[in-house]
């Protein structure tokens, strides 16, 4: 009898969490996907009508802008953060004395809320009193930096703020990766007479592939979810020029009373994330079982 309880106790204890996850994650995802195929507006309806919400979605200019913004944002955000992070990591790995302090400084932005970051950068990029004025006061009276209120350029302000917040984290990842590079391979290469640039580009950076993948996964994930930062910095404006799928979804769900559209946009966001995450999780978990 005792053995029976012992056998089942772990399963019993983990069951509530598992049930919660099943309900609140997978159940809810199912609900959202379901509703995305209904005619729901202010209130959810549950009769399936096919993919008309998706048709409508892809015909909505505001959504298309949001998707385009997301694409541009992901690309720039990930690329710049990777480059900056890797560059700083390599620099910081050169036996610098103040490394601890410098590392702490590069990383602290991650401890801030995106709202705080957005607020700060909104002020810095303020057309009248921010950077524009600073540079003008330095003697360049015609310097223009009104990106924040320029529909064409506002998106890039979000890139700037986002990179500022996240590149330190990428640096930390790469630094940890650099420190675990196999020393003996480097020594062998040096004995072979290979110069430092080739050692970096030919040996060290390729061996950081897992770190690249982790960093990209995290960054893409952050980018797709970027809601807080956009709201704080531009509120999706001017107009809709910095709208993202996340802000679009929120607007449809809570201000416009378009639950069907909201669910459809949320589902698209989910699919995008899945494309990246599922293969990664699968390979990670399989490795762990070996």
């Amino acid at each position: 009898m005792e053995k029976l309880i012992a056998r089942y106790l772990p399963k019993i204890v983990v069951a509530p969490s598992f049930a919660a996850v099943l309900f609140f994650v997978y159940g809810f995802i199912g609900w959202t996907i379901w509703v995305s195929m209904t005619k729901s507006r202010i209130l959810p309806k549950y009769d399936l009508v096919g993919l008309i919400q998706y048709d409508k979605l892809w015909a909505t200019p505001r959504w298309l802008v949001a998707i385009e913004n997301l694409g541009i944002f992901i690309f720039l955000f990930v690329a710049i953060a990777l480059v900056v992070g890797l560059f700083l990591a390599i620099l910081l790995d050169q036996k610098v004395r103040a490394e601890g302090f410098i590392r702490t400084t590069y990383l602290y932005p991650m401890a801030l809320s995106f709202i705080v970051t957005g607020t700060a950068w909104k002020w810095i990029l303020n057309p009248g009193l921010g950077i524009q004025k600073v540079v003008r006061d330095l003697g360049f009276p015609d310097f223009e930096f009104g990106w924040l209120v320029d529909p064409e350029m506002a998106l890039y302000t979000i890139v700037i703020a986002g990179v500022w917040q996240s590149s330190g984290f990428v640096m930390a990842l790469f630094l940890a990766g650099l420190r675990s590079v196999n020393q003996e391979i480097i020594k062998a290469a040096m004995v072979d007479g290979i110069g430092p640039f080739r050692i970096y580009t030919g040996i060290i950076i390729p061996s950081l592939r897992p770190v690249f993948i982790s960093a990209i996964i995290v960054l893409v994930h952050l980018a797709i979810k970027s809601f807080d930062l956009v709201i704080a910095l531009t509120s999706g404006g001017p107009g809709y020029s910095t709208d993202m799928p996340a802000t679009y979804m929120y607007a449809m769900a809570f201000s416009r009373g378009q639950l069907g559209q909201a669910s459809a946009s949320a589902t698209i966001m989910l699919m995008t994330v899945c494309i990246f995450i599922i293969p990664y999780l699968y390979s990670e978990l399989r490795q762990k079982n070996v």
């Binding site: 705080v116 607020t119 950068w121 600073v134």
Partner: protein, 298 residues
């Protein structure tokens, strides 16, 4: 282990003078230190200036005269929409939210991690995988049904609802942290304890928990930071007086009524930022460990 890259750089030092290279290195590193600290500096400095001084420009200049009014204003008088009570009540809302949410999600994560690493059974890895996946989903996909569910249970719009939300969606991460930590504990420890006669809970309480200090710290810091800094759940599932500080901050900064008080905005942002910044400064290296554990999954 920074030796080898330093050696690499030295190996190529023949063309460039090593002192020049070193100087360049420090210059670049220094520039980036400026880059990262500038916004914080600007926030603090602006929050200590008077409005007239701000309007004169000089974003980067130190305040001619330190004025603390913006801070007291931000704390007790600032207007978020119609109500003008400052950040104080919302600060405490966040505290009341964060403390139970962190404690509960950490405790659950510890027990789950313990089970999934030391009491594995058929399908336990699938359960882990499913829980793990839950960490990665964009929360937009669950926002609507959660709003409806909270309404049905009757805790929509108040702290209890937010605590539930943060606990449920935090379990994935906390379980991950603890499981990864416990997986490196030799299983023979559990075998020895079983032979000694200890059961499931005794092993957890007497043996595993006492050796969990590092992972508990990392998890608590991670959870505290992400729940305090959260905005999406806050803005979706709370109303009016119950909102957490991030929502109130956004309301203050983006409110369109009246004159734009930049110094109050900055002071408000600082007030919202100080708790997590303090935690970071005091326990930063654990925070970094938590970040690495959460994403690199080593």
């Amino acid at each position: 282990m920074s030796d080898q890259t330093a050696n690499v750089a030295r190996a190529g030092g023949k063309r460039w003078s090593p002192i020049l290279l070193r100087g360049l290195l420090f210059l670049i590193l220094g520039l980036f230190v400026l880059y990262y600290t500038l916004p914080l500096f600007v926030m603090v400095v602006t929050s200590l200036k008077s409005l007239p001084e701000i309007r004169q420009g000089a974003l980067l200049g130190l305040p001619k005269e330190i004025v603390l009014d913006a801070w007291s204003n931000a704390w007790s008088e600032a207007c978020a929409g119609v109500t003008c009570v400052g950040l104080k009540p919302y600060f405490w809302n966040s505290v009341v939210l964060v403390v139970p949410a962190v404690i509960i999600s950490t405790a659950i994560g510890a027990i789950n991690g313990y089970i999934l690493s030391m009491w594995q059974f058929k399908g336990s890895n699938i359960i882990f995988g499913l829980m793990l996946f839950g960490c990665f989903i964009p929360f937009q996909a669950v926002l609507l049904p959660m709003a409806i569910t909270l309404g049905k249970i009757g805790i929509a719009g108040n702290v209890a609802g937010l605590v539930l939300v943060h606990v449920v969606y935090g379990i994935g991460f906390t379980t991950l942290f603890f499981r990864n930590y416990y997986v490196s504990v030799p299983i023979e420890l559990v075998k020895a304890a079983k032979i000694d006669g200890a059961g499931f809970w005794t092993i957890f309480g007497s043996i595993i928990l006492p050796m969990s200090a590092p992972v508990i710290v990392v998890t608590v810091i991670w959870q505290f930071t992400s729940i305090w800094n959260d905005f999406l759940f806050g803005v979706s599932f709370s109303q009016g007086d119950n909102q957490p500080i991030t929502v109130a901050l956004n309301n203050i900064v983006n409110s369109t009524t009246g004159v734009k008080e930049y110094n109050v905005d900055m002071a408000s942002a600082m007030i919202a930022a100080i708790p997590t910044l303090l935690v970071y400064i005091v326990a930063g290296k654990y925070f970094i460990r938590g970040l690495a554990a959460g994403s690199v999954k080593g």
